[in-house]
């Protein structure tokens, strides 16, 4: 079977040129650690900024006179409004408890009647969290019987959205640069690895191997190399996260272990980076071999 030839040559290739192979694994690992840290920093940064934002997007205060029935109607209207992610009802008593918790004073002991209104706290889903959409929602709410006031901290909302947008853009650019430089770094190492195999490439070609048969073992070797690099990179990142934990430097909300798609992505990126890099180097070398 030719497949057995491809597998055997791929493995012989690794064991015969251990040093260049390990160098390449090392450079893929470094590359992926940078990429992985880049992605995780962005995710953690965005999460952190998101936390700066209030737990809810806006709050709808009800008239003090509105009764049970009216409140239920308003609740139904809000819940059915498209683009609403979450609605939370705060009764007058909840409001008093919150006030108590925040200011350490019991409103009920100061006044005999509870002056705080009941309210709804509303969150929009990602696709509807635009200023324009939220403002049209506010307008329709203010029309409703029983609604006293809608509180929307537009400035804060605006600012956080703006920062997130900026972080996204800068992070995307930075990641692109990181990926680009790692690709160059790795490609160079792979080229050295292939250069060391010139004897083999020339000989098997002269013995009647098609270009495919020359390339296939290297492609396999590149895949194995990238896979190893990916696994080691993930382990290193987990190690770094654990170190941050143990020394209590920072409490990361997003960790690679909880995101199998990031792990898988890194490994796949490693595999394709090195398999294609190797292929490119072999192809270049074949140009010098008739």
């Amino acid at each position: 079977m030719k497949l057995s030839y491809i597998i055997r040559e791929g493995i012989i290739g690794i064991s015969r040129s251990r040093m260049p192979f390990m160098n390449s694994v090392f450079s893929v690992t470094i590359a992926l650690v940078f990429v992985g840290i880049g992605i995780l920093s962005v995710d953690n940064g965005l999460q952190y900024i998101g936390d700066l934002q209030a737990d809810y997007d806006l709050e709808i205060f009800l008239n003090n006179e509105s009764g049970m029935k009216e409140t239920r109607q308003i609740a139904a209207i809000i819940t059915e409004y498209p683009g609403i992610l979450r609605v939370e009802y705060l009764s007058k008593e909840d409001a008093a408890a919150l006030y108590n918790a925040e200011f350490g004073e019991d409103v009920l002991s100061l006044l005999d009647d509870n002056p705080l209104p009941s309210s709804f706290r509303v969150n929009f889903d990602e696709n509807h969290r635009s200023i324009a959409y939220i403002q049209s929602f506010i307008q329709s709410m203010e029309f409703l019987e029983g609604v006293d006031e809608v509180m929307f901290k537009k400035d804060l909302f605006d600012r956080v959205q703006g920062i997130m947008q900026k972080v996204y853009t800068i992070a995307a650019a930075a990641l692109f640069l990181i990926i680009l430089s790692t690709v160059f770094l790795t490609a160079n190492n792979l080229r050295l690895m292939i250069l060391a195999r010139y004897e083999f490439i020339e000989a098997v070609r002269l013995l009647g191997a098609s270009d495919f048969m020359v390339k296939a073992p290297f492609f396999l070797e590149g895949g194995i190399l990238g896979f190893l690099g990916g696994i080691i990179a993930v382990l290193i990142i987990i190690g770094l996260e654990t170190a941050l934990d143990v020394y209590q430097i920072i409490d990361l909300p997003i960790r690679i272990m909880n995101y199998p798609e990031v792990i898988l992505g890194l490994i796949l990126f490693g595999i394709s980076l090195s398999a294609l890099g190797v292929l490119k180097s072999v192809r270049r070398m074949l140009r010098f071999v008739a």
Binding site: K2, S4, F200, A203, V204, L207, M213, A290
Partner: protein, 220 residues
């Protein structure tokens, strides 16, 4: 099987092969005879398509080399057994694997590969060397490995470039015997040498070259 038609080959250095015309038929045994630097290796390279003519036409096993696809070069080489002047054994594997390589490339079954490799190794006195590496062998032994590798897949043509250069008389005679035996099985042979006594021991058609030109093409 091989035909050269007004072939010219010029190197960048100004040295050239000129006006080469000859045909080698199926089951022929032909010596390519000439002094060092006369162009023997270059002619073999033109045949296995490592070099291409600047003028004229080289035709091998029905394919013209000019403008040929790389895939077809591979196919042709699978039918040619080549003994390179510099052996080109792979230093990263043992003798067994070196001899087996052409069969591996062509996708033969592993038990068939074993049988064929052991057979040629026995014939060429290499059976005790199969698990040594090329650098552990003498020049003459390496030459026999190169010959074993070139004949293991029963090629249609053998191109042998000075296959006895590093051998003493006894080993040389053994190698010659082996090549003639392969030839008797129906394989065409083109045998490059600069040693006159080789031609005398086993006479055959001889193409003599000097300074890139054919000076004589003589059948026995």
């Amino acid at each position: 099987m091989i035909s050269f038609d007004n072939v010219h080959l010029r190197f960048d250095t100004g040295i050239s092969l000129r006006d080469l015309n000859f045909d080698i038929e199926k089951n022929e045994f032909v010596y390519l005879y000439g002094p060092s630097g006369s162009g023997k290796t270059s002619i073999l390279k033109l045949i296995y398509m490592d070099l291409f003519p600047n003028d004229g036409q080289v035709k091998v096993l029905g394919h013209v080399s000019t403008g040929i696809k790389r895939r077809d070069i591979a196919r042709i080489r699978q039918r040619i057994g080549m003994v390179f002047q510099k052996f080109r054994l792979l230093s990263d594997r043992d003798i067994y694997s070196n001899i087996a390589l052409p069969l591996e490339i062509q996708g033969h079954k592993s038990n068939e590969i074993r049988r064929k490799v052991v057979h040629v190794a026995d014939e060429l006195g290499l059976h005790s060397r199969l698990h040594h590496f090329p650098h552990e062998l003498s020049g003459g032994e390496q030459q026999r490995v190169a010959l074993a590798r070139s004949t293991v897949n029963s090629p249609d043509i053998i191109l042998a470039d000075e296959p006895t250069a590093h051998l003493d008389e006894k080993a040389s005679a053994e190698v010659m015997e082996w090549i003639w035996k392969i030839h008797a099985g129906g394989t065409s042979v083109l045998f490059a040498t600069h040693k006159e006594h080789i031609l005398k021991q086993e006479p055959a058609r001889t193409i003599s070259i000097d300074s890139g030109e054919i000076i004589q093409d003589r059948s026995v």
